[in-house]
Symmetry: C2
Subunit: 332 residues, 2 copies
DNA sequence: CTGAAAGCGCTAACAA
DNA sequence: TTGTTAGCGCTTTCAG
């Protein structure tokens, strides 16, 4: 790790000024072909790599985008990261990823840190922050796209159509003539469960069916949770003919519960999940579920950012709602 | 996005020099308590955030680590990222992630770009690069940890014990008295299949069993590939009693093939996977597999880097082999 | 088509 | 305990 070659070394060896080297490489002003050739030759010879740090200090741009998510190891977020990566990579932007464990302090800390690092834009997936936090910390210093189930209005937003997805899932069951449909949600006020629950409710109502609170049970977002929730549902005197689950892990738990109770899926109990995680297609019976467009979320976030960065958009905050899509398989 | 507050603004408002502000904030030289208080007050009041870019230019450190992987959307790498993140986060380092699609040009391009950006260290997971590439592009400019199945000796390395894992998986079957054991590998020379195949061979040999080439079939690393490979295996006159698969997706395909052929798992056919992806525990029967310590790989990479960055280690390249572990479930 | 010189915002000798 | 000053390596006016 020795002293690096700088533009000065190149200029000296090529017998031109640093200005010319800079322009020969960037093409931002015309330089004689001979000079360009000479410069490039020296660059190659010396193995010169321009310092992006120095450039960033001068241009006030880092060409980096920060992605702040609750947990990079949760498969949903890598898909988001990939979408973002693909959207901004063409513009020469790179992604810095921060994993917050969903904790508010960590989210705010990373936000501050990334602002310090002069990233050109931030994409924040958050369960915890609100408008006040954001206006205090970010304060318009950098374009920000946020995806959260909380109330946030001061920034560009992107979200998947959770309610619409649950609506379609429920509708799919109703269309098969099933009317006793339960919903297994996550903990109240946590995650997307509430929005998905709302879609389920609306679907029932629109179909002229009564939706009753006893048909809604809560679980955490795990297979074990879903299994015990559905197991108890199945012991009821009038157990449901179908369950819509707030996510796929719960639904996979439901499958397990049914198997243990000797209940046939989908004949005796139809099961619908949400998210379309990898395992959904691999379990037996393959899970009918709602595709949650993580990649698309990331991609749209990137577009939103790029619009402000290079697209010249400078208007009020915009919201993008990415549609979800029912994936019919064997379980319903 | 207006002009940012700089250290000069703070110094002026606090009535001290920029040097004092710098030291009051960094604590790198003693400053009177009164001054420190005053400075911090002004910092708060003005909402000053030091520019990490300027600092990096001055100190020649960015406190960023680059992680270059084939595909961030493949669940294995997020786990690596998480491990790396956890290892280096305490040191104040952040992670930039680059996704290469496993292409050599992209890998080299990202390497160059990250060196340009003066990252303090690089972790590279690669299928494609070799020593020559690395010495040409990196040339000791930055600490590098590489994880690859190719021959690379000039840098710190980390790898999981692929051969050992396959050895243990095969042994697990032999211990149950099974002797007709096939192996479903990936495409030759691609990915970890060859190493795992070697472990399988050695296990057979050590147990005094003959390993024959006809027991090795090739597939790609997908469930569909595994399914057709194992389906054809099952039509053979002397079909095997067990299959060791080069990864979990292949193994899940094997489960499907068995179900379709009316072959009972594990009684008629025992199936072992490799990697322990999320779906492995969720399929039926739950998959016996070899845990591939992705998180640990990332974590150890981080430690290796930190050793060179701040731990004062400056010796020859080191190699870390992270042990794998058999996870016995229902399928074998 | 080319160069000289200023300065991005910070830290660290060196000096007091 | 504090300040002055010189850069880190680049881009970009301004001037020729």
């Amino acid at each position: 790790v020795r002293r690096a070659i700088t533009i000065i070394d190149v200029a000296a060896r090529a017998g031109v000024s640093t200005t010319t080297v800079s322009h020969a490489l960037s093409g931002r002003r015309s330089v004689s072909p001979a000079t360009v050739a000479k410069v490039k030759e020296v660059v190659e010879e010396l193995g010169y790599r321009p310092s992006a740090v120095a450039r960033s200090l001068r241009t006030q741009q880092t060409e980096m985008i920060a992605l702040i998510v609750p947990d990079i190891a949760n498969p949903f977020y890598p898909a988001v990261a990939r979408g973002l990566h693909d959207a901004i990579g063409g513009g020469g932007y790179y992604t810095v990823i921060c994993s917050t464990d969903g904790e508010r302090v960590a989210e705010l800390g990373f936000l501050e840190e990334m602002i310090s690092r002069s990233v050109d834009g931030i994409v924040l997936f958050s369960f915890a922050v609100d408008d006040t936090d954001l206006s205090r910390v970010v304060a318009g210093r950098v374009p920000l796209v946020v995806s959260t189930h909380a109330q946030v209005t001061g920034n560009d937003r992107v979200n998947s159509d959770d309610a619409g997805g649950a609506y379609a899932a429920t509708r799919h069951l109703i269309d098969q003539g099933i009317t006793e449909i339960a919903f297994v949600s996550g903990p109240e006020g946590q995650g997307p469960g509430d929005l998905r629950l709302a879609g389920y409710h609306r679907s029932l109502t629109d179909a002229g069916l009564i939706s009753s609170d006893v048909d809604v049970v809560r679980s955490d977002y795990t297979a074990a949770g879903g299994r015990s929730a559905v197991a108890s549902l199945l012991t009821r005197p009038r157990s449901p003919r179908a369950v819509v689950c707030a996510n796929d892990l719960i639904a996979i738990g439901a499958l397990e519960a049914a198997r243990e109770a000797g209940v046939e899926v989908p004949t005796d109990l139809a099961v619908v999940g949400f998210d379309d995680i990898e395992a959904a297609a691999l379990v037996v019976p393959a899970l009918t579920t709602v595709f949650n467009p993580a990649y698309e979320l990331g991609h749209r976030s990137g577009r939103l950012l790029l619009d402000r960065l290079t697209g010249g958009y400078d208007g009020p905050p915009r919201e993008v709602v990415v549609p979800t899509r029912l994936i019919p398989r064997r379980s319903a």
